[in-house]
């Protein structure tokens, strides 16, 4: 075994150079946790490829030796997604961080998978363009990782919806090492300019795949001019009122949203007994912006909302400050955050809250606020929904697991669709048995693409 370790180290060193591979215990220790309370997992090697070809060679080597490979972007996953549960190689993607091309005429940006949203936003901003992250991890998350989890939150969800619509094409290294482009037009010598094209949409196939079907090494995204922003804030007596708002806002627009509406109740950012809604909207002219503000004001007020100080929204969602983690020191005072989260239908929101309150507050006593919180945001005909815990690390980690298992189980009974299928906080345990034919098909595809099960094993697809 030691001989194999030495052989593998030498091989990895030959691929990426001596400065980009390590098996030192302290280097590996620094990669043992993500944002969540998931238990520490230590890989045997960490490797930092800087080219697609290096990624490909590493995967071919991993196949030869049947060594697991876990893919890590900015390290901000809150699902234990990249934690090396079976050891092996941890591939740190942050050296593949270049902006390949920004096409101002076609309004596309092509970046390497390890490029952070911050870096991309910064370059786009210089050109008057934007493409917003859809992540709690905000700007620290890499674009490639964001795609593997199909981000759906933050102000980026407004206008373009969940991440995916604006992903036009990918370069992916398959688990067996082949390098492919997902947009057919790229084989015709063009950069992707549309997310449709010839035949089935292979780009979408990899979006939300948890990094288990391939390693995303390059991404082409749709970008837009930077719009004007407006921030609004409303108080509501309860979440039933917000359900009506969600219905009215999403009814006429199909899958495109004009507003990012985030709500909280029972802790988290909320301090009162009612529900709070933070609204961000955009426009390309003052008139358009004004119209949207009038529209949302009208809908909210008819549903019982009372307009409040827009700064409460601005501090959490400001375009330039990044998402949430800015200027909210008190919010993080009780400790790191962990979540049970996913989506629910539009008229289920209040019921999800009631169950959360019953399980998290009344039964397991996650008080006082902001020790625990309930919140989420509007998606087309539904809600993102999460129960969050601020915990004292490491003492309260077992307590989170106990509470989260019960909450997850109860929410599944209500029609819960989790954000991800990672093994953290029992999502796989409760969701996989319900996924039937869909899961069988995914497993077949995984087996076809990853016959030796070396890419992110032990996570979503088992």
């Amino acid at each position: 075994m030691i001989e194999l370790h030495g052989l593998l180290y030498k091989t990895l060193e030959n691929i990426v150079g001596p400065d980009n591979v390590s098996d030192k215990d302290f280097d590996l220790e620094a990669y043992t946790r993500d944002l969540s309370s998931a238990p520490e997992k230590r890989a045997s090697f960490v490797v930092r490829p800087s080219t697609t070809e290096q990624v490909s060679t590493i995967l071919r080597v991993a196949n030869r030796y049947r060594i697991p490979v876990y893919i890590r972007g900015g390290g901000t996953s809150h699902w234990g997604e990249w934690l090396p549960v079976q050891g092996g190689i941890l591939m740190d993607m942050t050296s593949l961080n270049q902006i390949v091309e920004i096409d101002e005429r076609e309004l596309t940006a092509t970046v390497q998978g390890g490029c952070t949203w911050f870096k991309l936003r910064n370059e786009l901003k210089k050109l008057g363009l934007s493409c917003e992250p859809r992540e709690m991890g905000g700007r620290a998350i890499t674009v490639g990782a964001s795609i593997t989890k199909r981000g759906s939150g933050s102000i980026g969800v407004t206008k373009r919806g969940r991440l995916g619509w604006d992903v036009l094409g990918l370069e992916v290294v398959l688990p067996t090492g082949e390098i492919v482009k997902t947009a057919a037009v790229e084989y015709l010598g063009l950069r992707p300019f549309d997310n449709g094209g010839i035949g089935p949409n292979l780009t979408q196939f990899f979006i939300g795949s948890g990094g288990e079907l391939g390693v995303i090494t390059e991404v082409t995204l749709r970008v837009t001019p930077i719009p004007l922003d407006a921030y609004m804030y409303f108080d509501f007596p309860g979440l039933e009122d917000l359900e009506k708002v969600g219905d009215q806002v999403t009814r006429p627009v199909g899958d495109e949203l004009a507003f990012h509406l985030e709500y909280t109740k029972g802790g988290c950012l909320s301090v009162g007994s009612g529900a709070e809604a933070r609204v961000w909207t955009y426009g390309y002219t003052e008139k358009e912006l004004e119209l949207r503000c009038e529209m949302i004001r009208d809908i909210c007020e008819k549903a019982g909302g009372k307009e409040g100080d827009s700064k409460k929204t601005e501090v959490t969602h400001h375009r330039d400050h990044g998402y949430l983690w800015s200027g909210l020191t008190d919010y993080f005072e009780p400790g790191p955050v962990d979540y049970v989260g996913g989506y629910c239908p539009i008229y289920s929101l209040n019921r999800f809250f009631e169950v959360w309150e019953e399980v998290v507050i009344k039964k397991h006593g996650w008080i006082p606020a902001p020790k625990a919180g309930f919140g989420g945001w509007l998606i087309p005909r539904g809600w993102g929904v999460f129960g969050e815990f601020r915990y004292i690390d490491p003492d309260e980690r077992p307590r989170i697991r106990e509470t989260a298992e019960e909450l997850t189980k109860r929410w599944f009974e209500l029609g819960f669709m989790p954000w991800r299928l990672g093994d953290h906080l029992f999502l796989a345990k409760y969701s996989i048995p319900k996924l039937g034919g869909w899961y069988e098909l995914v497993k077949r595809l995984k087996k076809e693409l990853d016959p030796n099960d070396i890419l992110n094993p032990g996570k979503m697809i088992r």
């Binding site: 400065d19 980009n20 390590s22 030192k24 215990d25 302290f26 280097d27 220790e29 620094a30 990669y31 043992t32 946790r33 993500d34 944002l35 520490e40 960490v46 930092r48 900015g74 390290g75 901000t76 740190d92 942050t94 050296s95 952070t116 911050f118 870096k119 910064n122 991890g137 905000g138 700007r139 620290a140 998350i141 990044g322 983690w325 800015s326 200027g327 909210l328 020191t329 993080f332 005072e333 400790g335 790191p336 955050v337 004292i392 690390d393 490491p394």
Partner: protein, 386 residues
Amino acid sequence: MNGGKGMQISKYHDQIWKCGRCGYCGGGYLEDRCPSRFLGRFESSTARGKLLIARALMNGGLGPSAELASRAYECTLCGSCETICDRIIHLDLVDILEALRADLVEAGLGPMPRHKEILNWIKKEHNPYMEKHEDRLKWISQGRNISGKSKILYFTGCTAPYRQPEISKASLQVMEAAGVEALVAPKEWCCGSIAFRTGARDVGLDLAKHNVELFKSLGVNTIVTHCPGCYKTLKLDYPKLLGEMPWKVLHFSEFVEDLLSKGKLQFDGQIDAKVTYHDPCHLGRHAGVYDPPRRVLESIPGLQLVEMERTRQDSWCCGAGGGVKSAFPDSALKVANERIKEAEQTGAQYLVTTCPFCRQNLKDSSASSGGHLQVCDLMELLARVT
């Protein structure tokens, strides 16, 4: 490491466990702010990674090693991580990183060999430059009175008197031009910055005690220094270790700004040049002094100040601090090269700083790359027009 008991980092136990692991410190929020990450590349070079390492050291999941020590010391302690963390949840990251070094010293793995040589010399001759103590004031021209009854002490530090006397001379010249009677103490010892930064706290404490006794014996009410390392140590570290001090500590940029505002210092020339200003980490991020040097520069007739892209609290470190220049000179130069490139992009003729240590490292970088920039200290520019 003893299950964490008695470890210096255990004093920060709650902070270490409170880290939310967002990764903003290592470049997620503002890319290219962390020189340690720039040099080390792996997560263990970031504050987030080092906090995970600290946890493992405390709970016995990881043992200290020479290689780990090397990783911990290849950090300039610039505080970029801390100012980014301040935007989210405040953790005393620089203090934690220094405590980690103190534990490595305790474990016999730190500081780095070159630091040990320097610290041994400091114990003997009270300066880190392998020079004799009696040569400390050689830069002062004969006949100049620096031992008067003034209550204002010019604390010269070690770098300028021994290696860049032009800064010390310029500082004294500016004081004289403003009619300030300067007191320079021949018994001044190294402030201890290098000792505190490299985890050799006992050495630092001895130096601090000596200097505090000296200041008391001189009856000073104001201490002025041009060295941000000394400034931080005298102003922030000494009171933490030895209690509140009865004197105020000023950086020369603050002192000169005050002289200008009171009309005590006037210019008799002008400098027709475009300059850019490099914020020393110990002065800026660590002590919050950003505006005085800029205001002084802008007050010089003819001078045009232009900012680099990374400035003030988001400044890119020069690469020299935290013991990096002495223990890892190539790394220090790599970091400085980035700053020189950035300064050149502004089109400035001068890269001005207010730290002799930054000045030296940036000069080394500029010279090695054959750049056109003239690197100088604020006091040198002032001396030309006063």
